[in-house]
Symmetry: C2
Subunit: 179 residues, 2 copies
Amino acid sequence: MATLASDGIEGFTTRRVAQEAGTSTPAVYELFGDKAGLVREIFFEGFRQLRSQLDQLAPEPDPYRDLEQTVAAFRRFVRENRVLSDLMFGRAFADFGPGPDELKAGASTRKFLIDKIRRCVEAGLIEGDPRDIAHVLLAAAQGLSAQESAGWLGTSQASRDRRWTLAFRALMAGLASGR
Amino acid sequence: MATLASDGIEGFTTRRVAQEAGTSTPAVYELFGDKAGLVREIFFEGFRQLRSQLDQLAPEPDPYRDLEQTVAAFRRFVRENRVLSDLMFGRAFADFGPGPDELKAGASTRKFLIDKIRRCVEAGLIEGDPRDIAHVLLAAAQGLSAQESAGWLGTSQASRDRRWTLAFRALMAGLASGR
DNA sequence: ATCGTTTCGTGACATTGTTACGATACCTTG
DNA sequence: CAAGGTATCGTAACAATGTCACGAAACGAT
């Protein structure tokens, strides 16, 4: 079966989706109304998968390591679902821009982060508004992931790892002492 | 004239480009070979513009403020050239993925950052390999910009500003004390 | 001045998003 | 159980787009 992952975005056409679903093209339009609607569904499915993957993380007693592990899981998700992530966080499909409902999906993921961050704040590891911190942390992870996907973060695995951990440690250390 | 900024990505077609250039479609193919080639040219032009905008920054004696100002200029560029930035840093066009030459263009921008970061390191403000720091700083800025463009960073200007400065300050503070 | 090369315009082809138009299956209601 | 309405689906078509073949024209070199 040809999927997003195997054929990339350019192979993603309504006809092909219909064919591989064993039905005809208008059926897709009957169900999703639009190609954008179809893409939107995949978008939501992506966030469900990410959420499910985060939920399956083994609980970690240390709040710091717990947060670190969550970021690592995010990174893994993006690496293993490159095209899907481009759709979720980038602008892979031209005619699909995130609307209010899509923002909610993103907010759900962020909420997951916020809880873990709150634990770190309550443990005295860092200071600040968990929501702001979640935004910053997620933005950094998203930027690093985008660069890693595009090959901009370095050619060797070692340098990419080094930069990821540097970013996380620096952010956490900087958040330790308020302002 | 219809441009990328006014009509977005969906209006960007080889026929239209040819028409507004006062020529015919195959002329475009003669010049750029491909639509990807045409897009690539815009990609490079984008990095030239970004570089030119960074070069026009008034020199700042304080290395910290200098770096901060550079990041602010990056943010401004992305905000004022939303579609172009999507093309440069995201994956706005499906059939165009960054190759070796494109990576060089990105490296040029990063080099600009590295010099300013080196100044901060030499001034004792932060510690670490300037190249690693540049990667991390650029990734964070790119992630924040992407979220801001998509509307994920918050609805109020104040919260967006707060998160930008939080990210920068936290990163710099965290880089101050090595490891 | 002539020839070869480069550039360019007309027209065509394959693909894609999208929809009109019937046909079919299914579900409700008497 | 049968009839009618509705939702769904397949065939075919249309418009737009990327791309290219095929000459025509322009332009420089000899």
